[in-house]
């Protein structure tokens, strides 16, 4: 591990303090709750999928700075993407935060690279993504365990 500066980048701190799309959708096509039993974090993701494209995405719930910022940036990133684009984004993102891959077409998500030095925090960064994947698969709940 090293300096916390590499983990808590300004952008992450900003998204933690002012999370985007942090509200419930009145109408949605897919929803799932993600739970990290290790720290008690709970993040719910709601999306509107239209013609196989994400039209709208919101999240609710509470978590640490990493899971909150990750959920916030997720909702921004996936808008306009189709199912397979979202899936490959998650795959690349997972590779990045676990240190298995270097940055690969991740755009803004690349700021989470610092997580790879904190194995205990990988689940924080991926909680909202696991919830999103569960939602796309038609499941109601998932845990990071």
């Amino acid at each position: 591990m090293s300096d916390w500066n590499e983990l808590y980048l300004e952008v992450i701190l900003d998204h933690n303090k002012n999370p985007r799309n942090n509200e419930e959708l009145e109408l949605y096509t897919h929803e799932a709750k993600g739970h990290n039993p290790l720290c008690g974090d709970r993040i719910s993701i709601q999306i509107v999928l239209e013609n196989e494209k994400v039209k709208e995405a919101k999240f609710t719930g509470s978590g640490c700075a990493i899971s909150t910022a990750s959920a916030s940036i997720l909702t921004e990133t996936i808008k306009g993407k189709n199912r397979s684009e979202v899936e490959s984004l998650f795959e690349n993102f997972h590779g990045l935060v676990t240190g298995k891959e270097t940055e690969k077409e991740l755009g803004k998500l690349a700021i989470f690279e610092g997580v790879k030095k904190y194995p205990a925090r990988v689940k924080c960064a991926t909680l909202s993504w696991h919830a999103l994947m569960a939602a796309l698969e038609g499941k109601e709940e998932t845990t990071t365990e």
Partner: protein
Amino acid sequence: MIKKGIKADFPILNQKINGHDLVYLDNAATTQKPRTVIGSLENYYNHINSNIHRGVHTLSQKATESYEDSRRKIAEFINAENQNEIIFVRGATEGINLVANSYVKPLLNENDQIIISQMEHHANIVPWQMICEEKGAKLKILPMNIDGELLVNELENMINRKTKFISIIHVSNSLGTINPINKIIEIAHRNNIKILVDGAQAIQHIPIDMKKMDADFYCFSGHKMYAPTGIGVLYGKKNLLDEMPPYQGGGDMIKSVTFEKTIYNDVPNKFEAGTPNISGAIGLGIAIDYINDIGIENIAEHESNLLEYATEKINEIDGVRIIGNARNKASVLSFVINKIHPHDIGTIMDSHGIAIRAGNHCTQPIMDFYSIPATARASFAIYNTKEDVDKLMISIKKTIEVFK
């Protein structure tokens, strides 16, 4: 008084973490080990290693002597009537499971009740849930107040003819509360109910005297009292242990075995099937020597002073709230900071070389009680100093600064 320079007895403390001198404040999870305990493991494997009991060769006799000598030390340390009341287990968790399965389960009928408390560690919840489910019995919860003190006066009203057993934590690992265990035991016994006390967080902080306390069962883990992991103790009153069936079958717990009939060994061997953690048991004895050299009363006083100092200092910081404000507390300081998740606190503090714990501390019902997901927890041991507390406070202030 605790002598100065005690940190030097603990080799692990002499290192840098992320460029800072390590400040280890995760003692409620596990304590560090003094040189003498580490040395005893090396000595055991270099000079004594052998299987115990029934060995006729020299090494086996030496190993047996050291192992049983440790049992004697433990019996003295907690002032048990008889050293055969000391059963070696893996830790407090195994001790509770042993009592649940060997003593309580055979007593349970449908709709019977077991009483535990609101502030139990998962280890003192789940084993009871498991046997309750099996037998159709019910778990009743003794409540606590917002300061984290058990409402002991309600215990009497909760007890009825269906109540078969009580199991209560002595010192809360999340809140630090020292429960009025003598009073609880007195109520249990007045109602003819046996009681187990989970002493995992008490044994290293306060003097324990089984004769005075009169608990029927008491359990603790070695690794929280400066001994190795994987060794712990279940104390049980001899007459109860004698009448209990074995917990596990195997070698060493029998007198004779034929395919038709096995005759079980006497206590404590009846409950120690298979080759035990011999080096761990010996190490636990050496850890007790270490505690005795300093004196448990001195340790209690030192830690209590540290807690008082830390409580005072942390209360001066805006936005920080202590979780657990019992009048009688051991050296556990659980806290939350406004709008900062405990895991973020833990990560930032680690970058300052400070090891604290962040999470639910295996006490999810306590977190639910306070409607919080987790707490940050600093817990103090004999080697901690006021300087450690000062560093903790600086680190808390810097953490608040980061998330401002």
